[in-house]
C-alpha cells in the first residue's frame, strides 16, 4: 500500500488567503522528484510555482486551472507507489479538502427536516432526496456568454445546465468562479457536472516515459544512466545531454530555482468625460490595501534624529576608490548599519500581526524600490551576514529584479525591518507608513551640508535626517530612541560596525 501525500495551496506571506491556479506542470501519472514544479499559482501579488514536498507519482489533480483555492486547500495527491482509486478517495476524504470529487454531503433534508409551514403562500421547493433534476431555476435566463466567468466555471456551468446570470460572482475581477457555482448549486440542491479525475495509468520503473531529448536518451543508454536520475533543465522540462552528463559525473542535484514571477496585469481604464477612471488592480491594488490597513490599524509614532555622515561618506569614497568591482552607496552603508543596530535591538527587528509578536535574530531588511506599477519592498535576507560589498551587489540585483517583476517569494516577503530612502530626490525628511507586519520603518532624507555647532564653534557637516516610524503596540518610545541613537553612532563612527 502506497503512502499518499498532499500538495496543498501554500501560504506565501501573511496577506495570502487564496490562490488561483494558472498552469499545471504535471499530469496524473507523472513521476516527480522532491521539489519538482507542480503548478503555477497566481495571487494578488505574484505568480509562483507550488512544488512537491515529497517524491512520487501524481495520482490525482484535485483542482483545475482557473480555480481559486484557499490556503491549505488540496491541489494534488502524490503517491510513492501504486495506489488505487479507493485509497486516494479515502485519503482525500480524510483531508476534508476541496477535491475534484468532494465527499458527498448528507442531504440537508435528512440532517434537518424542514418543518412544514403553512403560513407562506408560496411553498419552498422541497429539499430533494432523489437525484438532482437536470434543469432547475438556475438554468433560466438570457444568453450568459457576456457574464464574466473563469473558463472552468463557464464549462462546468454549461454542462450542469446553469445560466451564469443566476450565480453571484465573487471571483477575481468580479468573475464567476467554480466556488460560486458550487454555492449556487448547493443553494438550488443541484449536482455540478464536475469532470472526472484523469485515470491513473500506472507507471513503471523504466525511464522510457521520461521526457528527454533524443541525444540525451541515447547518451544515457550508452552511459548506463537512468533518466529518472537526471535533472530536466532542457526546454519544456526535457532531460538534455548536459543533464545526463551531469548525472554521469555524479554531481549533486540542487533544487530547481524558484520560478520567476510574471509581470502584474495592466490596469484597465475607461475615459469618462475628462476623467480617467481606473479600477485598481494587481500590485497597485495590493499597495492601496496594505498601506490603508497599516495606517488604520497601526498606532504609528515617529522619532527623528540628525546624523552627520561625513565619516560614512569618507568610508564610501575610500572603498569605491580602491575597488572597482563594487560601487557602495550611502544607502548600502545605511542598510549595513541598520543590520548591526538591529542585532542589539531585537524589539525593532520583529513582525506583529495583531496577536503574535515574532522577534528575529536575523535582520531581513526591506527597501522601497520605485517600480512602474508602484513601490515594491524587496527583502535583503539576513542583512547582518553580508559585508558592505555583498550588500551593495545584492541591493543592485534586488532593485533591478523588483523592476522586472522577477523576485522570488522569499525576496518579497518576510521583512523584519524596512527602509524607505527619498534622499536622492532631495527630500529633507518625511514620515513613512509601516510595512506590515514588520514593526518599524526608517525614512531617510537627503544628506546635505548644514551648519553644526561643535565645541561651541559654528562649522558645517553633511547631515542626514532619519525618521523612524514604529508600531506602538509592541514598540515603545524608549526602544525606538535607543535604536536610533545606536544607528547614529554607527553611521558617525562607521568603524564601530566592525566591532
Amino acid at each position: 500500500m502506497a503512502t499518499l501525500s498532499a500538495v496543498v495551496m501554500p501560504k506565501w506571506g501573511m496577506e495570502m488567503t487564496e490562490g488561483e491556479l494558472a498552469e499545471w506542470h504535471v499530469a496524473v501519472g507523472d513521476q516527480l522528484a522532491a521539489n519538482a514544479d507542480v503548478v503555477d499559482v497566481e495571487t494578488a501579488k505574484i505568480v509562483n510555482t507550488v512544488t512537491a514536498s515529497a517524491a512520487g507519482t501524481v495520482v490525482r489533480l484535485c483542482a483545475s486551472v482557473g480555480d481559486v483555492v484557499p490556503v491549505g486547500g488540496l491541489l494534488a495527491v502524490v503517491a510513492d507507489g501504486a495506489a488505487d482509486e479507493a485509497e486516494i478517495d479515502a485519503f482525500v476524504g480524510g483531508l476534508g479538502g476541496s477535491g475534484a470529487a468532494p465527499a458527498p454531503e448528507e442531504a440537508p433534508a435528512n440532517a434537518a427536516p424542514a418543518p412544514a409551514t403553512a403560513s407562506d403562500t408560496t411553498t419552498a421547493p422541497a429539499p430533494a432526496a432523489a437525484p438532482a433534476p437536470t434543469t432547475s431555476k438556475l438554468s433560466e435566463g438570457p444568453d450568459d456568454s457576456d457574464v464574466p466567468a473563469s473558463p472552468v466555471a463557464r464549462r462546468i456551468a454549461a454542462k450542469s445546465g446553469i445560466n451564469l446570470h443566476n450565480v453571484t460572482a465573487s471571483g477575481r475581477h468580479g468573475r464567476v468562479s467554480l466556488d460560486d457555482l458550487r454555492q449556487a448549486a448547493a443553494g438550488a440542491n443541484l449536482d455540478l457536472q464536475l469532470p472526472a479525475a484523469r485515470e491513473f495509468d500506472g507507471h513503471s520503473a523504466d525511464d522510457s516515459e521520461v521526457n528527454a531529448t533524443p541525444v540525451a536518451r541515447r547518451l544515457a543508454a550508452k552511459l548506463g544512466v537512468n533518466l529518472n536520475d537526471c535533472r530536466n533543465t532542457g526546454r519544456h522540462g526535457r532531460v538534455s545531454k548536459a543533464d545526463v552528463e551531469a548525472a554521469a559525473a555524479k554531481r549533486g542535484t540542487a533544487a530547481p530555482a524558484a520560478a520567476p514571477a510574471s509581470a502584474p496585469a495592466t490596469t484597465p481604464s475607461s475615459r469618462v468625460d475628462d476623467v480617467s477612471q481606473q479600477t485598481l488592480a494587481g500590485a497597485r491594488k495590493t499597495i492601496a490595501r496594505v498601506v490603508a490597513k497599516a495606517k488604520q490599524e497601526v498606532p504609528h509614532f515617529r522619532v527623528n534624529i540628525d546624523v552627520n555622515v561625513d565619516e560614512a561618506m569618507a568610508l564610501r569614497r575610500m572603498l569605491n576608490a580602491r575597488r572597482s568591482d563594487v560601487k557602495v552607496s550611502l544607502n548600502d552603508i545605511l542598510i549595513r548599519a541598520c543590520a548591526s543596530a538591529l542585532e542589539n535591538h531585537p524589539r525593532l527587528n520583529a513582525r506583529f500581526d495583531g496577536e503574535t509578536l515574532e522577534q528575529h535574530s536575523q535582520a531581513h531588511i526591506a527597501s522601497a524600490v520605485a517600480a512602474e506599477n508602484g513601490v515594491l519592498m524587496p527583502v535583503l535576507r539576513d542583512a547582518g551576514s553580508l559585508g558592505l560589498a555583498a550588500t551593495s551587489t545584492a541591493m543592485r540585483d534586488l532593485a533591478t529584479r523588483a523592476k522586472t517583476g522577477r523576485l522570488a517569494m522569499d525576496e518579497m516577503d518576510g521583512a523584519t525591518f524596512s527602509i524607505s530612502n527619498l534622499g536622492m530626490f532631495g527630500i529633507d525628511s518625511f514620515d513613512a507608513i509601516i510595512n506590515q507586519p514588520a514593526v518599524a520603518i526608517l525614512a531617510v532624507g537627503a544628506a546635505e551640508q548644514r551648519p553644526i555647532v561643535r565645541d561651541g564653534e559654528l562649522t558645517s557637516g553633511l547631515i542626514m535626517k532619519l525618521s523612524l516610524s514604529s508600531d506602538h503596540r509592541v514598540v515603545d518610545g524608549a526602544d525606538a530612541a535607543q535604536f536610533l541613537a545606536e544607528l547614529k553612532a554607527l553611521l558617525e563612527t562607521p568603524a564601530m560596525m566592525l566591532g
Partner: protein
Amino acid sequence: MSKVNDYDLMVIGGGPGGYSAAIRSSQLGLKTALIEKAELGGVCLNWGCIPTKALLHCAELVNDIRSASKYGIDVTLNSIDIALMVGHSRNTASRLSSGVAYLIKKNGIDVIEGSAALKEPCVVTVSGATGERDYRSPHIVVATGATLRNLPDLDPQSPRVWSARDAMTPDANPGSLVVIGAGAIGVEFASFYADVGASVTLVEAADRILPTEDPEISARMQKALKSRGITCHTSTFFDSFTDGADQGVVQVRSGDTVSDIACDRVLVAVGVSANTDGLGLDSLGVALDRGFIQTDAHGATNVAGLYAIGDVAGAPWLAHKAVHEGVVCIEHLAGVDAKPAGERLIPGCIYARPQVASIGLTEPAAREAGRNFSVGRFDLQANGKALASGHGDGMVKVILDDDTGEILGAHMIGYGVSEQIQGYAIAMGAELTNKEFEEVVFPHPTQSEAMHEAVLDAEGIALNQ
C-alpha cells in the same frame, strides 16, 4: 551622496548587439537608454554585413548575365556602373538604419547621441553636439563593437590603401586589387571585385584560405576562386607596400621567397580590434584580454554594474552572436533564466560565390576533441535541383558522433547555403540524433536534400551517390 538614476540600464553602441539588448531591457520593464555616436545599426547595418550583401547581390546578377547564353538567353553585359551598385548598397543600409530607429522608438528607449566615456562605475559621460552630460545607471552595457585592423606598414591616408569602408564605397572599379587576409571578409571582397571585373589576388598567412573553416571547404573554395581567375597565395606573409604613381607594389614573402605584386588598390582584412578607445576602461580597471573586454558567461565584467557584449567582448565577431550575448546579458541581470550565449551553437556564413556556411566542429577539431565520429559528404553534382539551376559546384559535409548520433558539425559550400545552415542549427540545438534527422522529409527537388543525404552518407546509406 545618493542621486537619482537617470536610467535603469544604458547601452553604449547601437549595433545589432546593443540595440537588441536595449529592446530586451525595455521589454522587461527597465527604463533604458541607448548611446550612439554615429548611425543606429552599427557597422553591421551601415558598414558591414548588410551593405556588402547588397554589393554581392549585384555581383551575382553580373555573373548570371554573363552565363545566360549557356541557357539560350542572348544578353550582352554592356557596362557596370559601380556607383549605382554602391547607391543600392547605401540605400539598403540607410533604410535598415531608420528601421532600427523605429524599433527603438516603438520600445520607448531614449537614444542619446554622442560619444560615451565611463567616468566611474555606474556613471557615463556622453559628449554630443549639445555638450557633455553625466548619466547615472546601475547597469551599463558596453556594445561598441570592433574595427578591422590595419597593418603598421600601410598608410591609411594613401588612396591606394583601402579600408573595408573604402572597399564598400568605391568610385570606380580598381583594375587590380590585392586583399591581405583570406578570412570571411577578405574572400567576400575578393569575390565581389572579381565578378565586377577586377584582377584579384588573395594573400593569406595560414596554409589555406578560410583557415577557421573545415579544410575540405577551404580547398573547395580555393579551387572555385582559382577557376574564377582569383590568385590565392597561402602561407604567404605581407612584407611591405610601396606606393607608386601608376600602381602600388605589395611585397610578400613565402618561406624564403620574396615576390612583388603590382596593384591599383590594397585591402587589409586580417582581423579586428576592439573599439575601446576613449571609453575610459583603463581608469576603471576593466580586465581585457588582447584588447577585448573580459566577461563572465552572462556578460558581466570585473567592474560593478558594467557589462560587455558582442565584438568588443571577443570572438567570434558575428552580429548574431552579439544579439544573443546582448539578450542573455539583459535577461540574466533582470532575473530571467537564460542559457549563456557561449553554450549556444553559432553558425557562420560567407557570402562569396560560392557561399560557405558552417556550424559546430570541423573534422580536425572533432579529432582533437577525441570524439569517435564518422564523416558524411554529399556533392551537389548529384543534386538535381542544384544541377538544374546551374549551381552544381558545392558540397555538404557532416561530422556525426558515433556514440550518440549527435551531429557535431556541418559544413556547406555552394549556392545559397547560408539560407540552409539553420536546418542543422535547429537539429543540433534540439539535440537530434542522425536518426531523427533522417526521419525528416526534405522536399524534392531542393538543394537541401543534400543535407539529408550527407547525414545518410555518414552511415554509408546515402541513396543518391
